[in-house]
């Protein structure tokens, strides 16, 4: 059910925002197909009526007041940015 062809591999790579050269697509498709074939063992399991796991520990997540707990440190937030200007993260043009 899940033979991945080079064209599907190209789509997946784009969805994942990872550039893959055309000549590498067949190899990638082969690797992904191998991994998916391995996963197909899961089809042998009877999962009728089984709930998919959401949380491994049955616990109610703690709640807290919806308030500001931190902030006011733009210098620290930007300190690791590859390109920061005038208090902002700088990126290439987004809108033409």
């Amino acid at each position: 059910m899940s033979e991945i062809d080079p064209e599907t591999a190209r789509k997946v790579a784009h969805l994942a925002r990872i550039r893959v050269a055309d000549e590498d697509l067949p190899r990638l498709a082969g690797e992904l197909s191998g991994i998916l074939t391995f996963m197909e063992q899961l089809n042998e399991v009877d999962v009728e009526g089984v709930e998919p796991m959401v949380s491994v520990t049955p616990m109610r997540l703690k709640r807290r007041a919806d308030g500001v707990t931190d902030g006011g440190m733009p210098g620290k937030v930007l300190s690791n940015a590859p390109d920061a200007r005038e208090g902002f993260f700088a990126v290439p043009k987004v809108v033409e």
Partner: protein
């Protein structure tokens, strides 16, 4: 006298409190050992200034008589933990140059307890790997060797395991998503514990698969693991999945008494093609526990076989989401752009340059299993199988089983590069005995139990009930005493 850097944490603690030596002396011994161990490639970022300052502060606390157990104990921190002002790059090119402005909760708790950070430890990139070969820093070399081959220390916490085995530090932090603490511990003759999911805060640890990731200690003895876990564990309001439960005195729970405990031996862990030595060691482990007064019970965990494929759906799915943040905008590497490149080009080029091959594969597998049309067939099905795997364990515990004994790994350490041309799935098989524990959120510990025919360490794994790390370590301590594993790698580096 034993070299200071070879001491256990418990002996070092006692010696520090008696004033036999100082934290500064202990730290200098470790720094010298690290200096001479470049060939192992275990420490990848060195922080001797921080270490010396913390050691001096620890000596002050020791003199004042108010030193917690980890005070003055030199440790290494896996590169996955964010450490304030110190490079933290998850062994990835994409986080090159990243120096966090904050400290992970676990490394912060250790620092508060007085532990001395010596530096950051090598690992597989984003903790994805079982041999340390996916690291941007190059692989760690196992201090154990039996011929001229360089062996893997395992992964992903391979730097932590190698550093502890080679006496570069007294303990190290690791993280375990599918076996990343227990498999390297087994490959290096050390002890490694993955606590119950939620026992240690995940805040400030670079996320791989959030529903599976858990930090834990890696040490030379079970007692040391108990001491170190005590300093790492506890509720953290910054991690909504961290449990608001009291942290017991784990060390005090090592009573040596396991009489009447019921130890399960799961039939499904007897794999086809398992080496005879592993099978024999497993049997020996059961015999040791029986001799100590435990009852050995054959049990069944029928969905074991499906743990690995379920894991390799769930973990990559979560990783593809978690790793979406590495986009070249806020931190780390950004690709050099060509004239006219837009923001999508920036994302795609940055991620292609920044992520290694295995990380790219897993992100893409995760993207695929989460994509429209495949979500139910793969991701939801895997989460249902996960429910069944957890139910297997629950039924065993409800039937009165206290702990489960299994092999830790399907083999001893293998040679670096030996699986380079193999199918990625073959590498995944390393986790066959350990992933079930992550899927079920349980505590698991690897204990060195013997040597194989060539003289390489082999480990056994004990799996416990949720939140019962103390009881689990009590059994592990008895197993460790019975095995009497004292072998050390002979120094070649």
């Amino acid at each position: 006298m034993t070299a200071l850097n070879s001491l256990t944490i418990s002996d070092a603690r006692d010696g520090l409190r008696r004033g036999d030596f100082t934290a500064v002396e202990l730290t200098e011994a470790c720094l010298a050992a690290i200096e001479g161990a470049g060939a192992l490639n275990a420490f990848v970022h060195h922080t001797p200034e921080i270490a010396r300052a913390r050691a001096a502060a620890a000596d002050g606390r020791l003199r004042a008589g108010e030193a917690p157990a980890m005070c003055g104990i030199p440790i290494g921190i896996k590169d996955l933990f964010c450490t304030e002002g110190v490079a933290s790059q998850a062994a990835s090119r994409i986080l090159q140059g990243f120096r966090p402005e904050y400290e992970s909760t676990v490394s912060g708790l250790l620092a508060k307890a007085g532990a001395v950070m010596l530096g950051k430890l090598n690992m597989d990139e984003f903790a994805m790997g079982s041999s340390n070969e996916t690291s941007v820093y190059g692989p760690v070399v196992n201090p154990w060797r039996v011929d001229d081959r360089a062996l893997t220390p395992g992964g992903s916490s391979g730097g932590s395991a190698a550093a502890v085995a080679a006496d570069l530090c007294l303990g190290a932090t690791g993280t375990d998503t599918g076996g990343s603490i227990r498999q390297p511990a087994a490959f290096t003759g050390t002890v490694g514990l993955k606590p119950t999911y939620g026992r240690c805060s995940r805040w400030g640890i670079v996320a791989f698969a959030s529903s599976l990731d858990q930090a834990g200690p890696m040490t030379r003895t079970v007692r040391d693991t108990a001491i170190m876990l005590g300093a790492m564990a506890g509720h953290d309001p910054k991690d909504s999945t961290s449990a608001d439960l009291p942290v017991p005195d784990f060390e005090a729970m090592l009573t040596g008494d396991i009489r009447g405990k019921r130890i399960g031996i799961p039939a499904e862990y007897r794999m086809d093609g398992m080496p005879d030595e592993i099978e024999a060691l497993w049997q020996q482990g059961a015999d040791w526990l029986r001799a100590a007064g435990a009852e050995i019970v054959e049990i069944s965990l029928p969905h074991t076989k499906y743990a690995l494929p379920a894991y390799y759906v769930i973990a990559p799915a979560e990783a593809s989401s978690n790793l979406a943040r590495y986009d070249g905008v806020r931190y780390g590497h950004r690709a050099r752009l060509a004239q006219g490149d837009g923001i999508v080009d920036m994302y795609e080029k940055t991620r292609a340059e920044g992520f290694g091959a295995e990380v790219q594969r897993r992100v893409m597998i995760g993207t695929y299993v989460l994509s429209a049309g495949f979500y139910d067939a793969y991701y939801n099905r895997a989460r249902k199988v996960r429910t069944l795997i957890k139910r297997d364990f629950e039924q065993a515990f409800e039937a009165g089983i206290d702990a489960i004994l299994t092999p830790a790994t399907p083999s001893a350490a293998f040679g670096l590069g030996e699986k380079a041309d193999a199918d990625p799935v073959e590498m995944y098989l390393n986790d066959v005995f350990t992933v079930t524990v992550n899927l079920a959120g349980l505590p698991g510990i690897a204990v060195p139990a013997g040597l194989d025919g060539r003289g390489l360490p082999l480990g056994l794994q004990l799996i416990g009930r949720p939140w019962r790390e103390g009881e689990l370590m009590c059994v592990a301590d008895v197993l460790e005493q019975a095995a009497g594993f004292v072998s050390k790698p002979s120094k070649w580096w």
